[in-house]
């Protein structure tokens, strides 16, 4: 630090804070909203399946992949080999 730096104004940092927050929160809002949606879908899908066959809760996987143009929802349900589908 030299004597001149005492008189120099430090660059402002608030705009950086603002930008970082905007980017971060846009991301987090989408992610949290999505995890809620996935949890709700998972429960409702489980309830529908449970009406007809008994499945292990842990064997139902619901996954959302978010892309720029389209998002995909993957539902992966594993039945025991002996399960006979009713109807």
């Amino acid at each position: 630090m030299n004597i001149f730096s005492l008189f120099q104004r430090q660059p402002s940092t608030a705009p950086a804070a603002r930008e970082r927050l905007q980017v971060l929160l846009a991301h987090e809002r989408a992610e949290i909203g999505q995890s809620d949606l996935v949890a709700v879908l998972r429960e409702e899908i489980l309830a529908v399946i449970a009406k007809h066959v008994s499945v292990d809760r842990d064997k139902v996987k619901v996954k959302m992949d978010k892309g720029d143009a389209v998002s995909t929802l993957a539902v992966d349900i594993e039945f025991p080999a002996a399960t006979r589908l009713a109807h």
Binding site: S12, T13, A14, A17, R20, L25, E28, R29
Partner: protein, 271 residues
């Protein structure tokens, strides 16, 4: 018709307890009855800020569990007879707060007071979710600082999802209370400005409380800042916020500390 308010933030140390005490006292000064409720079980502090720490006999947990009547646990303020405190327990665990018990106590409080102001603990655990559970109105306390703004954003999401009102499909009113604001730092670009925080969180502004030594001085004495020196900048800002909470449309002003001549001369260096 009483109103239940939750004072929440996610992040700790931003001024929830100070704001609860200050707003509670400011509303009680208008003649309406107010009960401030400490939900920070295990780390209670509202009693200390209110100057009632030596008068606690029974607490919220005792009432929730049915070991004491609500009237036994309520502490009437010695300076304002329209103001009461329901303290948290210092020794018990927050798991003793049951949803059913809290619902019953909130119902009882509604029948006794015009305003019930719940001081939420930091975090998003049981104490915080139960403090917001029965609220009609939420005050999100935020410092102009990145971690506080982020946590406030998270709390706004929770308010819209986890409160009884949200679950019934009703709206919960959310207000931003910006605390520890330093207009000079914001002007220099070293602190997020009011408009920055408002744009990011997009909820209406209830008030701006300036960073001020008066807040610390009031808590040293155990007096809500609105009762201590009514003319101080934070007291005025809290009083205005209380009036807005009441539905008055007051213009928002960015508060300035009162300074003497020396303060004005040296403010640029001191800040």
């Amino acid at each position: 018709m009483s109103t239940v308010v939750v004072v929440t933030s996610g992040k700790g140390g931003v001024g929830k307890t100070t704001s609860t005490a200050a707003l509670g006292a400011a509303i009680a000064q208008t003649g309406e009855s107010v009960c401030v409720v400490d939900f920070d079980v295990g780390l209670r502090n509202l009693d200390l800020v209110m100057g009632a720490e030596r008068r606690v006999v029974y607490d919220l947990i005792n009432v929730v569990q049915g070991d004491a009547k609500l009237a036994q646990a309520l502490i009437r303020d010695k300076r304002l007879d329209t103001l009461a405190l329901l303290p948290a327990s210092q020794t018990r665990d927050k798991d003793n707060l049951t949803p059913e018990g809290v619902e019953r106590v909130m119902g009882d409080l509604r029948s006794k007071f015009d305003w019930i102001i719940c001081d939420s603990p930091a975090g998003i655990e049981r104490g915080a979710t139960l403090a917001m559970r029965h609220a009609d109105v939420a005050i999100v306390v935020t410092n102009p600082e990145v971690s506080s703004v982020r946590d406030s954003d998270r709390m706004i999401g929770l308010l819209d999802a986890k409160t009884a009102r949200a679950e019934r499909g009703e709206r919960i009113d959310k207000h931003l209370l910006l605390t520890r604001y330093d207009p000079q730092r914001a002007e220099r670009g070293d602190m997020l400005k009011v408009d920055d925080v408002l744009e990011i969180l997009s909820i209406p502004l209830l008030g701006i409380i300036p960073e001020s030594v008066d807040v610390l001085r009031a808590s040293n004495l155990g007096t809500p800042v609105t009762m201590n020196d009514g003319r101080s900048a934070p007291a005025q800002a809290y009083r205005d916020a209380a009036r807005r909470l009441h539905g008055e449309a007051l213009p928002i002003v960015i508060p300035e500390e009162r300074r003497g001549l020396f303060g004005k001369l040296f403010s640029r260096r001191a800040a």
